[in-house]
């Protein structure tokens, strides 16, 4: 299917099914509400085929360009049908499974994620390992035909809802750095896993601590080869920093328009407004070019750090403007609309942290794109 045809027929389907697709909850909803809504929308879109286009046939997709699934994300977020943050997990984790999971595992699992039947999470960060990911220490040891995992992850988004986890473990010596890491696909229901949700600043238990106490994971759940986990991570992160953020741009555009709809003129600085708008359109242009590069078969790499810096700056700039233009609502309002603005404002503060901090993106740009050599 071509993009134009997909766009027209999807728009039409969304139009005709507004009544079933619209969230049941009022306002922004709780995280439970948002997760239920996400599963519902994914299920309906999967059954109607929309959610399958742009994914390979061997994992239950219908084939076609990745531009199709990019448009789906944009169409859903710009109609406020899904919360953009939790929607991106699919765009981050499914490509990794497709590239690294054994064929039959990918074929049986990816459809569960696409159809909204399951939620997956990404277990990378640990208490002592944030930016310095290669120092992770959650240990996996071979024991016959299983891995045995002991250790801890933290900031694991949606872990309390997740059926599976793409987990980075230490399988080499503790000094092995990026050569001793192995990626595993773990059932979150396995005995020995404990999840403790953590409340974020924006008032949502979005992420959790996850404890692993001698958890058995079959060897055939290894993603890539033993010791290849760093490559898995390095291939996953560019998706998290670029294509998975395409629909976020549509969301930011929508919210900036909502701000323009209601904010009093004297509270909006025209230069700041002009600058935010320029940044958002430039981000859209950059992000669009990235989508087309992937669609043409190019492999994503360190250049996605520019996309990520841009999206983080644009998001914070949009919500800085919200903080000024709707200051009273954000700070003092207790109605659902104010609550939403406040939560979004607060969440935007994390844009320069998750997916690799703003500083880490600049380190990557300096080293990989500008070839500035080692920073030591």
């Amino acid at each position: 299917m071509e993009l134009d045809e997909y766009r027209a027929s999807l728009d039409d389907w969304l139009e005709r099914n507004t009544h079933v697709l619209t969230p049941d909850h009022d306002g922004i909803g709780t995280l439970d509400d948002q997760m239920a809504q996400l599963s519902k929308v994914k299920r309906l879109a999967f059954e109607a085929g929309w959610m399958r286009w742009g994914w390979p046939e061997r994992v239950g997709g219908l084939g076609g360009s990745i531009l199709l699934r990019a448009y789906l994300g944009e169409a859903l977020t710009s109609r406020d049908l899904v919360e953009p943050g939790i929607y991106s997990m699919t765009e981050v984790l499914a490509p990794t499974m497709i590239d690294y999971a054994p064929l039959d595992l990918a074929a049986s699992m990816v459809p569960k994620l696409l159809s909204g039947e399951e939620t997956w999470c990404q277990g990378f960060s640990e208490p002592a390992t944030g930016s310095n990911l290669a120092a992770l220490s959650c240990r996996a040891t071979r024991d016959g035909d299983v891995w045995r995992i002991s250790g801890q992850k933290v900031w694991t988004s949606l872990a309390q809802y997740a059926d599976r986890c793409v987990l980075l473990t230490r399988t080499g010596s503790s000094e092995s750095a990026h050569t001793g890491i192995t990626a595993l696909f773990v059932d979150m229901g396995s005995p020995g896993i404990t999840v403790r949700p953590i409340e974020t600043m924006h008032g949502v238990p979005e992420f959790s601590e996850v404890f692993f106490d001698d958890v058995a994971v079959p060897l055939d759940r290894t993603l890539g080869e033993e010791g290849q986990g760093w490559s898995v991570a390095m291939d996953l992160l560019p998706f998290e920093r670029s294509t998975a953020l395409w629909h976020r741009v549509a969301y930011l555009h929508r919210r900036l328009q909502s701000l323009l709809d209601v904010a009093p003129a004297h509270l909006l600085d025209s230069v700041a407004l002009g600058e935010v708008t320029q940044l958002l359109y430039a981000l859209r242009a950059r992000s669009r070019a990235t989508q087309y590069r992937v669609a043409a078969g190019e492999k994503l790499g360190p250049e996605t750090s520019i996309d990520k810096v841009l999206v983080a700056s644009a998001e914070q700039a949009v919500f800085d403007l919200v903080g000024a233009g709707l200051g009273e609502e954000v700070i003092m309002g207790d109605d659902p609309s104010s609550d939403r603005w406040r939560r979004e404002y607060l969440y935007s503060r994390a844009a320069t942290i998750y997916g690799g901090t703003a500083e880490i993106q600049r380190n990557i740009i300096a080293r990989r794109l500008l070839d500035l050599g080692s920073d030591r």
Partner: protein, 320 residues
């Protein structure tokens, strides 16, 4: 132009801007068929030339040619074209009660030919006028960037002939195309500044290591690249989009990105970058002036903000 032709054309433009500047570059561009390219494939001709011109800090009359082309006046090759006044994007001419006053700029060839073309506002209309150069007061600008060949153009009660009247959107469209050209030139200049600073950072040793090892140096250069790529993305999108509003956004992003590049790279180059023995200062000067032509980043940004505040409606984003 296909990809192979583009590469060949780009190589010959690079050769031209490295070897020539000013009227010699005008002649070189004539020889290699840049004007024909402009009429056949404006995006390619403009983006390639202006980027390499910026890269080399060369100067030519090409911005006037772009304005002429965008005004639909290709046939009038034998006259110079007056650009808007310093920092502005309204027409350089204004007719009130039948009397023409001119406040504008020219570059390089201005005054070499007997006739000039001047866009002028008459009530709510824009007309393009034919004016004798001898009836204008021309001042060759030294200023911050003498190598640019800027000319200040002033006239009051100037005799004119009306050549043509423009469509209502004709002037803003022509401004948009000129802004894109300048945007590419700013990006080109910023890329050279970044490269000069990058090479210096790798070569300069302090505290026993190259200064490129210091994170504040690395982050400044990274931010410079982000600014450049941001502008570049917007410029590309604006060519597709063809709207004067997006062109103004692209020019603003390019101006802001290039000014930031100048600031960051100056700091990285430190003492040597502050001398006339190093080529860096040419770029600082050039970017300072180019940001002003057809509207500074801050003026264009404020204008966009004011428009949004009154319309309360964001433009649609470029479709996927």
């Amino acid at each position: 132009m296909d990809a192979a032709d583009r590469e060949i054309f780009k190589a010959s433009l690079l050769h031209a801007v490295r070897g020539h500047t000013g009227s010699a570059l005008d002649a070189a561009l004539d020889d290699l068929g840049w004007h024909e390219a402009l009429t056949l494939d404006a995006e390619t001709a403009v983006s390639l030339l202006f980027e390499v011109q910026g890269t080399a800090s060369a100067s030519s009359s090409a911005i006037g040619e772009v304005l002429r082309f965008a005004l639909g006046l290709d046939g009038h090759h034998k006259s110079d074209v007056v650009l808007p006044a310093f920092g502005r994007w309204e027409t350089p001419g204004k007719i009130v009660d039948g009397s023409l006053s001119v406040r504008g700029l020219g570059i390089v060839s201005m005054g070499d030919r007997p006739r000039t073309l001047i866009a002028a506002t008459v009530n709510d209309m824009v007309a393009v006028l034919d004016v004798m150069a001898a009836d204008l007061v021309l001042r060759h600008v030294g200023g911050v960037d003498p190598r640019l060949g800027l000319v200040q153009v002033v006239g009051d009660g100037v005799p004119f002939n009306v050549l043509t009247e423009l469509e209502p959107t004709g002037w803003s469209t022509a401004v948009g195309v000129s802004q894109l050209a300048l945007g590419h030139e700013l990006v080109g200049a910023a890329r050279t500044m970044l490269e000069l600073a990058r090479q210096h950072a790798l070569a300069r040793i302090q505290f026993g290591k190259p200064i490129s090892a210091f994170q504040s140096i690395r982050h400044r250069l990274a931010d410079t690249l982000v600014g450049i790529e941001t502008a570049e993305s917007m410029l590309r999108a604006a060519w597709v989009d063809q709207s004067p509003v997006t062109a103004g956004m692209a020019k603003a992003l390019a101006g802001r990105g290039a000014r930031a590049a100048a600031r960051h790279c100056q700091q990285v180059l430190a003492g040597i970058g502050f001398t006339t023995e190093h080529s860096f200062h040419h770029y600082v000067r050039r970017v300072f002036v180019l940001d002003q032509l057809f509207g500074t980043a801050s003026a264009l940004t404020g204008e966009l903000g004011n428009q949004l505040l009154s319309s309360r409606q964001l433009m649609a984003m470029p479709p996927l």
